[in-house]
């Protein structure tokens, strides 16, 4: 049997689970990563990983409900067959991670302990202290090290993936990558390529993500012709600690334990917070939502905090947007008991004791639901067909996308603790698919024409050399352009989106892109030149940034994380029951009409000559669970729901009748 070789780009949870599974199937793997894989961004995840389990089952939970919660949370933009498959695999994924030695927290009797996360009624989330992502990643890293010791895996760490190699037929035959130390650029021929390169938070300047999350790898595939889907769906977390280098996550439990959110009424009041009397403090969540106060749901908290800083200009700090999250009214002993761990994080990085001084927090970009478009094959029972070569293959033959950089699983909004799951699941599940794809090919990695490889390398070498020398007179600095890009994106395309702002942002980003193509580097050396690596990833952020903006502009609706106040669905106003019922009918008509138009994946293709994405729309497979409205906090929700259920039932009866007569 001929040797098989796959290149896996990225060694987070997705890339490592893919690598170990492929190695188990007898396929050699070249694993390429910007950083030693053990340091990948997945280490940052704290909360946990979801699956239904023995305990929740006895309370009425099952895989189908996990599937339902996921698509409901995603506002039905998720493709249902892959989500269903993932939910049914979830318990098996946790079992495997348990066998691999992940130190999950235990119950007194020694079972895996579970906690409850947002968007569900069940305690599905397994966790390992406050470092679940780190623990999962390490378990996979250890298996890959084992395969490395056996000679099945070669690691190329501190290598930057520059692009896929395609032959004349368009099939992906390997990748070009650059050694970030010696700056050598070389080809890695392969039978198939897996891209598992994570999110793109750095397009927003600072986010809760690691510095590696530039999206550059996905962008390089996008520029090579791969489709990018649902780019505009970016999740923002309401409470992060705005550092000058990173926005670090602050757990929502701080609000849960009685934290009060406020700003001084006087813009940029320079007094220390404790010197500002109560009457001059604006507890805006409590005033605007007397019923829920500081405990409004995640998306509302996010929008209000954003609004008070951006539109009302009431940020605590004029230079760095933030509001106070105040715990100082709670006795210290109580705080230590309930919130000890997370307050230590604040103290460690801010050098300020949140028991004495209110914390400064602001929403932060956290997760990218969109990513490289990839195919799948639906099985007869509505899941995925195991081993089908097209599962997770992008539109470039032989190029696969998995993990945070794919787009199927989280729809318009990701549920907490579902991402670690989708990453490991996609890595494991695609192993046999890739193996079967390779079996079906007549030419393998050893048969790639030398000119195909050398052309791809010389194209990248030209780009590299050009960057080092082309703009000696320009004073464009990549770091400053990155800051500007981050500012524009954060203002226009995070929490609240308005068409005029998006249009302005598109114009600005177009200009920044042109400037970024003319950067002048302060380091033109040929040894470990971080300057040129950064400049390339900066340039490659623009195709993604433009796709996010254009997608957001064209989507005139509210769905999940994408919120446009001008296209919000109204509450019911009538008091009279008959009139209220009529309004509810109208509401449901409008909802259906909106879904007919917008319940679609946004598909972007990049045109390198115009440097612009072209958008089109594709149907979503919602055949298993019909879409239903999310009515949280809406006046008249009860009656709308009633009408909706009647309609759903009528539709179902109609279908059943049709089936029984056919």
């Amino acid at each position: 049997m001929a040797k098989k070789r796959v290149v896996v780009v990225g060694g987070g949870l997705a890339g490592l689970s893919s690598t170990m599974k492929l190695a188990e199937l007898g396929i050699e793997v070249d694993l390429i990563s910007l950083t030693p894989v053990k340091r990948s961004h997945s280490v940052c995840a704290q909360g946990g990983i979801n699956s239904c389990n023995d305990q929740t089952r006895q309370l009425g939970d099952d895989e189908w409900k996990h599937f339902d919660d996921t698509v409901y949370g995603g506002d039905f933009l998720n493709h249902q067959p892959p989500v269903k498959e993932m939910a049914y695999w979830a318990p098996k994924v946790i079992d495997l991670m348990d066998r691999l030695g992940v130190p999950f927290n235990r119950t007194g009797e020694g079972f895996i302990d579970r906690r409850r996360f947002g968007g569900t009624l069940y305690k599905r989330t397994a966790f390992a202290g406050a470092t679940t992502g780190q623990q999962l990643l390490y378990a996979l890293d250890e298996q890959v090290r084992r395969r490395e010791a056996e000679g099945m895996v070669r690691k190329f760490e501190f290598w930057d993936f520059l692009g896929p190699i395609q032959d004349a037929s368009g099939r992906c035959r390997g990748v070009v990558a650059q050694d970030m130390v010696s700056m050598e650029i070389r080809a890695f021929p392969a039978d198939a390529v897996v891209v598992a390169t994570g999110g793109c938070g750095l397009v927003y300047g600072r986010s809760t993500m690691s510095v590696f999350c530039t999206g550059s790898a996905a962008s390089r595939c996008f520029q090579a012709g791969a489709k990018y889907a649902n780019g505009e769906f970016i999740q923002v977390h309401p409470t992060a600690i705005p550092g000058s280098d990173k926005l670090r996550l602050m757990s929502e439990s701080a609000r849960g334990e009685g934290g009060r959110v406020w700003v001084p009424r006087k813009p940029h009041d320079s007094r220390a917070p404790r010197d500002i009397p109560d009457s001059e403090r604006y507890y805006f969540l409590e005033e605007r939502y007397p019923e829920y106060g500081n405990l409004v749901p995640r998306d509302i908290a996010t929008r209000e905090i954003f609004d008070i800083c951006v539109n009302d200009g009431l940020s605590v700090d004029p230079e760095r947007m933030c509001v106070y999250l105040d715990l100082t009214h709670i006795p210290k002993a109580e705080l230590d008991r309930k919130l000890g761990g997370i307050l230590e994080i604040y103290e460690k990085f801010q050098g300020v004791d949140p028991r004495v001084e209110p914390m400064r927090i602001f929403p932060a970009v956290h997760y990218s639901m969109g990513g490289l478009w990839a195919d799948y094959v639906r099985s007869h029972d509505g899941g995925l067909e195991p081993g089908a070569p097209r599962n997770h293959m992008t539109n470039i033959e032989g190029l696969y996308a998995i993990g945070e950089c794919d787009y199927h699983y989280h729809g318009a909004n990701r549920l907490g603790a579902n991402s670690l799951l989708s990453c490991i699941f996609t890595g494991l599940f695609t192993g046999p698919s890739i193996s079967n794809y390779i079996e079906s090919q007549s030419e393998g990695f050893e048969d790639v024409e030398a000119s195909v490889l050398s052309d791809a390398v010389s194209k990248q070498q030209q780009r590299h050399d050009h960057l080092l020398s082309a703009n000696p007179d320009s004073d464009e600095n990549p770091y400053l352009i990155h800051q500007e890009l981050g500012d524009v994106m954060t203002r226009a395309a995070t929490v609240v989106r308005k068409n005029d702002q998006l249009q302005n942002a598109i114009a600005t980003v177009n200009e920044l892109h042109e400037r970024a193509m003319k950067v002048n580097l302060s380091d033109t050396g040929s040894w470990s030149n971080q300057n040129v690596i950064f400049a390339k990833s900066l340039q490659d952020m623009f195709p993604i940034a433009k796709t996010i903006l254009q997608g957001a502009l064209q989507r005139d609706e509210c769905r999940g994380a994408h919120f446009k106040p001008n296209f919000q669905k109204p509450s019911l106003t009538a008091e009279d029951p008959a009139e209220r019922r009529r309004q509810a009918e109208e509401w449901c008509d409008a909802f259906e009409a909106n879904n007919a138009k917008y319940l679609k994946s946004t598909i972007a293709e990049y045109d390198c000559s115009t440097m612009q994405p072209k958008l089109s729309y594709e149907d979503v497979d919602t055949s298993l669970i019909p879409p239903r409205p999310r009515l949280y906090g809406l006046v008249g929700a009860d009656i709308i729901e009633e009408v909706w259920k009647e309609r759903a039932k009528a539709k179902k009866d109609g279908r059943d009748l049709a089936e029984s007569t056919s």
Partner: protein, 284 residues
């Protein structure tokens, strides 16, 4: 840790940053002084970001930006280790306001001392990962197929293992260990990359494995399935560069940013290797 009263914080106008630079392996190191504007709440990463954006020394000379390594920026990935004011630590959690309390004159940044410098503050830590291979720091499962859950584990076992499992391979402990010497080889004229790599791994495997790897060996020897390789791990720890090299100076444990009980692991490993050797002697 008690927070400073904001009014008492030292707020100089500028911060002087002295950086030990080196253009590449085998090149001579040299010092450069940078000056950046003071801002509250800076950490060393943001200082380096400011220096990268400026790329000018304090006397106005244009220079190549300082190279350094970082990742998560929240002290879980282990990338950003360096010597700051003479002490090895993570630069993402090193806060300038605190450092100025120690030394209000300037910040001094140097690369780690026990690993070959690649450039400026970036070092090559391959040897650290190689040590994890030496002690087979993994659970030897049969397969990645669905075989049901792992063995049930007592909460006390989890509580013993979890702290060890938080080791982020930063190498602070190695840099501080008096027994861990630097291993730096040069590629010979005409030597292929593969041959050089093989020679390098051989040299690593003769050197001290280091406290982080000893601790990982203890972690996996305490796992129901990981135990299967306990003997092989103990063999590795009794071979050349094994646990006998440790002089019990305890420097490692005092610098570990994750407060991993390294000396406890070393003591456990010491006992286990002794028993292991006696057993082997009787089994001969």
């Amino acid at each position: 840790m008690i927070a400073l009263d904001p009014a008492e914080k030292k707020r100089p106008e500028f911060i002087k940053v002295r950086v030990k630079r080196q253009d590449g392996p085998g090149k001579d190191p040299y010092w450069q002084l940078f000056q950046i504007k003071y801002e509250p709440e800076l950490n060393i990463i943001s200082v380096l970001q400011r220096i990268a954006a400026l790329a000018t020394t304090s006397d106005g000379k244009k220079v190549a930006p300082v190279a350094w390594d970082c990742g998560c920026l929240e002290e879980v990935c282990g990338s950003c280790t360096m010597q700051i004011n003479g002490r090895v630590r993570q630069s993402c959690s090193a806060l300038v306001d605190r450092l100025l309390e120690e030394n209000d004159d300037e910040l001094v940044l140097e690369p780690m001392s026990k690993f070959p410098v690649i450039r400026d503050l970036i070092v090559d830590r391959k040897r650290l990962f190689r040590a994890l291979q030496r002690v087979k720091a993994w659970v030897p499962v049969d397969s990645y197929y669905d075989m049901g859950s792992g063995e049930r584990q007592l909460r006390s076992t989890q509580e013993q293992n979890y702290p060890l499992s938080q080791c982020m391979s930063c190498g602070c402990c190695l840099d501080a260990c008096p027994q861990y010497g630097k291993i730096e080889l040069e590629q010979r004229e005409g030597e292929s990359d593969e041959a050089f790599q093989a020679r390098e791994l051989e040299a690593f495997d003769e050197g001290f494995v280091g406290p982080h790897a000893i601790s990982q060996a203890m972690l996996f020897n305490n796992h129901p399935t990981g135990k299967a390789l306990a003997g092989e791990r103990l063999d590795a720890l009794t071979g050349p560069g094994g646990i006998q090299v440790c002089g019990n100076a305890q420097n490692c444990v005092s610098v570990c940013p994750k407060e991993i009980p390294l000396t406890t692991s070393i003591a456990r490993a010491g006992r286990a290797t002794t028993v292991h050797m006696i057993k082997k002697w009787f089994d001969r």
